[in-house]
Amino acid sequence: MKFNYSPAPNYRSALSTKRIMLELLLGLLVVYAFSLYYYATHFGTPYLMQALIIMAVSVGSCVLTEVVWALANKKNVISYLTGSFPWITGVILALMMPISIHWYAVAISAVLCILFGKLVFGGFGQNIFNPAAVGRAVIFAAFTGLTTADIVTSATPTTVMASTYSWCVTDASMVSALLDSVGGLQNLLFGFYPGALGETSALLILIVGVVLAIRKVIDWRVPVVYIGSVFVLTSVMALYKGMGMWYPVYHILTGGLFFGAVFMATDPVTTPTSAAGRVIYALGCAILTVLIRVKANLPEGVLYSILIMNACSPMIERVCDCEQIKGLKTSLITFACVAVLGLGSGVLAIHAVEPAKKPEPKPEPKPVTVNKDSKFVQDFKATVNGSTDNGDGSITYAISCEGYAVMDHDGEPNELEITVKDSAVVSVKVVKAMDTEYIGDRITDADFREQFVGLTLEDLEVEALSGATISSSSVLKAVMTALEQ
């Protein structure tokens, strides 16, 4: 009979870290499944394969890096891996990748993020920065151009917003143009648009997030405060600039905010441990996200804000070190201060941003006209080669007149037949157009020639062929000569 000494309590809940990680993985795979469906149905098999390759390379590289690390440190590989969960990082990293990224870039960033994001700090539970975010930052810093040649997608809603609209649009027609270009706000909610693999469907991530929060896999506070604060902050900015409620909605639905808030900002290892600390942390993420978007004009506010707030976590924890009930006031004051600061800087930031202007409509090029006084008309020489009386009172003159060919390389003059009746032009016929092919020889165009019909010597003026003013002048000179006869 053995009576074990075992300090109280001798009772444990069923929830384990392994189960938390398993359920998180399932949640991520649901999001990935949507992504596969979208690329398979909207783009076809090569895109589906590319999405599979990205996932395989990312997870494979993460796991392999940890295997090598475990071997190098003479640890049991299996038990090391089951307590370290590299596949979670791998899956999150893959879901943050744009579909066009080259697998080579994925592999490099996966190795770097596991090594420098996690292992060098002492492995699971010790790292300061969210490893997947580190990996994504590596891509941003070094591999944005490294894409797969035959995979092409259009711009994401955030890049459109950042590059064309500077995160500030007040003009109603531009707003509708912007929303049309992304398929409307409801499309942003459902996620049928190109972007990072798993970041597009806000609705699906929301559903997965709610399930995970109920199952206590993630803390509900972080996504609620994060997304909520971005909404409130951008609403105030929208009010300030007179933008509609579409603006905050656009902010929360795009740029992977839902993905970041549900799957990355909730990473327990890199966030403060107390409830109050997490709330302050999430608020900080929200403010930085908006500021980075609006002021730095970068599409990826979410990623950098999470990395920056990761670095602030130890500081927040020290602020929140107290008996939680008695320290509630400190936490509330800290939260309020950060909120006011964020609101102030948000309004200042948007104040400094010029609303996107409609591109000025290009002025219609003024048509060039030629008349008797035009330079070339006076310079060119026209010769009447003969005339025919048509018997109905009209006379047709055969006229050769110098044109561009003569002026340019002493070529042949243009030959025309001009019919005149009662000092007015009846018809202009081009017998031989000697000027430059496709440019000067357009004097044969009926539209051009018919301008002359009915003109007399007094009102002789026509619109020149664009790019062929000289040839047009040549014709005018010929007509003029015929009318002078």
Binding site: N4, R12, L15, P268, T273, C322
Partner: protein, 430 residues
Amino acid sequence: MSLFKGPMRTHLNGHKDLTEHGEVVSLNPSKVSIPLFAGADTNPEILVNVGDEVKVGTKIAQFSSRFVIPVFSSVSGKVEAIEDQLHQSLKKVKHVVIASDGKFTKESNPTIDYEKASKEELVDFMMNAGIIGCGGAGFPSYVKYKFAKDVEKLIINAVECEPYITSDYKTVELHFDEMLLGIKAMQKMCEPKEVLIAIKKSHPELIQFVNEKLNGEKDIRCVSVPDVYPMGWERTLVYELTKKRYDKLPAEVGCVVNNATTAYMFGKAMTTGEPIVSRMLTVSGDGVKEPKNVEVPVGTSFHEVVEACGGYTGEDMVVCFGGPMMGGTVTTDAVSVERQNNALTVLKKQAIDEVACLRCGSCSDHCPSGLQPVRINQAAKLKDNERLGKLRVDKCIECGMCTYVCPSKIAVTENVRRAKRAYMMANAKK
């Protein structure tokens, strides 16, 4: 649950059905070893000698240096020895060993009629009858009433929030009239505006039973409280019923809290003169063959109690006096049942698969004291005494919540306990 703090409590599987509706068995041990133990006070005045004849209720010792706590014989028979034995605290403590004659002849102790007695007389009676908190802590009850004033609520705690334990429920069910008498006397002693009997809402039959019995009583009513741990802790219970938090004692917010079994013991002492000599003990857990409630004389050995419940189910056991959350473990079953024990929980030894802390903060969210165990562990690792003070490690009540909720299966409570001891010792040296 709010944005800035966690729920500070959690529901846990109580396994109450193992013993709640079963029969109660009375034990008749041939020998009892009554420990002379009262917390920090280790210097009792022993009133009997080896060879003396004693009866049930004969005073055999008394502590009086800090609080007055008398100790009584639980059987009638002959004092066999006064010797050091292993106590639940795993220290050697003086025990009075009495061989029972099996007759349970009762000592004629004084009784009292609460309706005629004054408040002071009742407080003195409570002190002399050795009424201590029967919920596990063993704090002498008279102290609460001696200085009671401006009391709003007298709370009778029948919550029984630890898993497995049902002894308070059984006491309420079987000895209701004596308990009610005790409650009424307590009511007279502290003059509250109302008396609340708190029972978990997951026990509707018991609540219904109490309500029927209370029919017609003024100012005494039964309240149901959520089925969460540690609902039976004074602070959590007072907050649940008044929404007020206090610094040191519930008296600060006008509350007096006593356990239901304590009220029963007081009621019994007033009518029969018999102090706490035997008590209801829940013997449960997956390590005992026939879990049940037993009525045991104080001083009966754990071994005898477990034998009365069919014995152990295996060879590798964890034996806790009290529930599995707070009950300390003993390394042998040759230790005695004390007056404040409400349960004996016997569990099979479980293998624990511990992984690295993922800093999920669940311990901080659930700590009923509002502490941050994960931060305390980090500070303790760094031996940062100043930070431990800031984190108020001294406020830990060792309820076991942090270890229970930890998904990484780390022995958080034990680490905090050690940090607390180290912190207290470092501060004592200053």
